[in-house]
Amino acid sequence: MSQEKEVLLSVSHLKKYFNVGKNAVLKAVDDVSFDIYKGETLGMVGESGCGKTTCGRTCIGLYDRTDGKVLYKGSDVHSITGKDRQAYKKEVQMVFQDPYGSLDPRMTVAEIIGEGIDIHHLAKDKQERQDMIYKYLELVGLNREHANRFVHEFSGGQRQRIGIARALAVQPEFIVLDEPISALDVSIQAQIVNLLIELQKKIGLTYLFVAHDLSMVKHISDRVAVLYLGTLVELTTSEELYAHPLHPYTQALLSAIPIPDPEVERERDEKKIRLEGEVPSPINTPPGCKFKGRCKYAMPICEEQMPPLTDVGNGHFVACHKCMQEQA
């Protein structure tokens, strides 16, 4: 299946370390490799502090890498310069988590959306620019009248729509969505997710969808990558991940999703896999599997060796010693 598809973004052995003091290194992204195919949505999930936002940002060159390589359509994201960089920035856009902090409060909506159009000279004259702004406003479900308003006049869901319109205005091919719905109500989340799916069908966009809400990620993604403390622990199609989660961390994440059904919840209560504690500090992590401290299957080998990401069939990748032993 994967052979036929065109690879849009190829991440190999990407590392992003932060120096946080004397002899202290925060490994936010530690040796992560994956591909994103044209027209697909790759979901990226994990708890807070697992490096998913850093990974998303490093992938498109917002952060400088420590090591590794990211190729966008074959060219290295971190060393594109000059005109190529300008062109690259037009093709890759980002929507941020916080719809309150990511929009300039002193600009009108028209200015926010028009900024990208101006920078990339996408409009021939004022009239065309105005039409484009209206077009994108309507595309994301807002009205023309909204164009001259300021950001504080909008609700959270509407602001997120403005953020999406701003990203779309430069006609990108690839959008990194960094928790675009976490700050919104459930009913509004559904609106935004529907909008994103519809836009993808209409324009053929490629998404990297970063979130901690597994149920929404499952819904929107073709494939899902599970991150834990900066490493990829499982990567597979979203159906496969939810039907046969292999990594103990993925299993725990799945069983933590609350189900809106009192009887089902009561039955699940005993069977639930509960994670004790929180994500340990990513500063100066000891060797071995990073999940071992919270894993109930931890074995001696987990203390010593980091399990490699291995294919267990059908493009289902998992990094766990237990799963590998069962497979063998």
């Binding site: 807070s48 459930v186 609106q191 997710v193 149920s215 189900i259 009192p262 639930k272 509960r274 994670l275």
Partner: protein, 342 residues
């Protein structure tokens, strides 16, 4: 349920905020009662007045901007708290009734060690000495599952993670064994895994101390396993309330249908359209005359725009305010869930 068992009765609560633009009618006639040791969930979208309801019960509506209207009553153990004097308020707040806010970082004092923030409460309400309170603070942190509590009491809020801060909030709330606990979106800012842990703690403490809990949230998934009763709020009013099972299995109000359906389900097909509620809630500066949901309701009739619907009783405390349940109205069933049952 006998009348005597109610720890809290809210009768016709109406709260307004006075702003430059005019009077925002945030809560418009909310009535409910809460049994001793029971859990009630108030569910609704942002801006529906659920937090304002919670703040009124805690006495946190500040004049002159905020105003609780005259004939509102909040009866706690037989006494109307709106008529409390200063001394009674002091005993009530924190001692009898405690609240856990959504944003733990903004609610904790950043300049004070967390141990001291817990001790404050104990020294005021339980008249403990400093040493006793310090020992109790360590115990409280242990109770809510914070590792190394002896070390942690001496730290400041910024040294805690989001989940840990929320645990501190719960420790402060439970320090004086309150009879009534209000949780205002306690898990909204947290990860799913931590959310599960926090909900477990609240449930455990509720059972252990027989505390009555009001849980406020926008996520129906969260309440399925926590609350016995659910009240669905929309634009400052309770549109439907009933037992947890009734709300989930036999919802009667179109808004409740829409809320239930907008929760993503794991059995849905990929990229299938989720049902969402089109539009936004009405402006509470000048709320609509008729049913507040009429502008977004797909079953809206002429009457809905003109007159407020009556409350229909379906037995077992299950009521809904919708014209569809008028005997003359066309019969409408809840639409099938896309993708079938869970």
């Amino acid at each position: 349920m006998s009348e005597k068992n109610h720890i809290l009765e809210v009768k016709n609560l109406r709260v307004s905020y006075h702003t430059y633009a005019g009077e925002v009618k945030a809560v418009r006639g909310v009535s409910f009662e809460l049994g001793t040791g029971e859990a009630l969930a108030i569910v609704g979208e942002s801006g529906c007045g659920k937090s304002v309801t919670a703040k009124s019960i805690m006495g946190l509506i500040k004049a002159p901007q905020g105003e609780i209207k005259e004939d509102s009553e909040i009866i706690y153990q037989g006494e109307n708290i709106l008529e409390y004097d200063k001394k009674q308020w002091q005993a009530y707040k924190g001692g009898e009734c405690a609240i856990v806010f959504q944003d733990a970082l903004a609610s904790l004092n950043p300049t004070m060690r967390v141990g001291k923030q817990i001790m404050e409460n104990l020294m005021v309400h339980k008249h403990m000495t400093k040493q006793e309170a310090a020992a109790e603070a360590v115990e409280m942190l242990r109770l809510v599952g914070i590792p190394e509590p002896e070390k942690r009491v001496k730290q400041y809020p910024h040294q805690f993670s989001g989940g840990m801060r929320q645990r501190v909030m719960i420790a402060i709330a439970f320090a004086c064994d309150p009879k009534l606990l209000i949780c205002d979106e306690p898990t909204t800012a947290l990860d799913v895994t931590i959310q599960g842990q926090i909900l477990d703690i609240i449930k455990d403490l509720q059972k252990k101390n027989n505390t009555s809990v009001i849980m406020i949230t926008h996520d129906l998934g969260v309440v399925a396993n926590v609350a016995k009763e659910i009240a669905v709020m929309y634009s400052g009013m309770i549109v439907e309330r009933g037992l947890c099972e009734d709300i989930f299995y036999h919802p009667r109000h179109p808004y409740t249908w829409a809320l239930i359906q907008s929760v993503p389900r794991l059995d849905l097909k990929n990229k299938q359209e989720l049902s969402s509620i089109p539009g936004t809630p009405p402006d509470l500066l000048n709320p609509p005359v008729g049913c507040p949901f009429s502008t977004r309701c797909r079953y809206c009739m002429e009457i809905c725009k003109e007159e407020m619907p009556e409350r229909t009783d379906f037995g077992n405390g299950h009521t809904a305010a919708c014209w569809l349940h008028h005997p003359m109205a066309p019969k409408v069933e809840m639409p099938e869930l896309k993708g079938g049952a869970v």
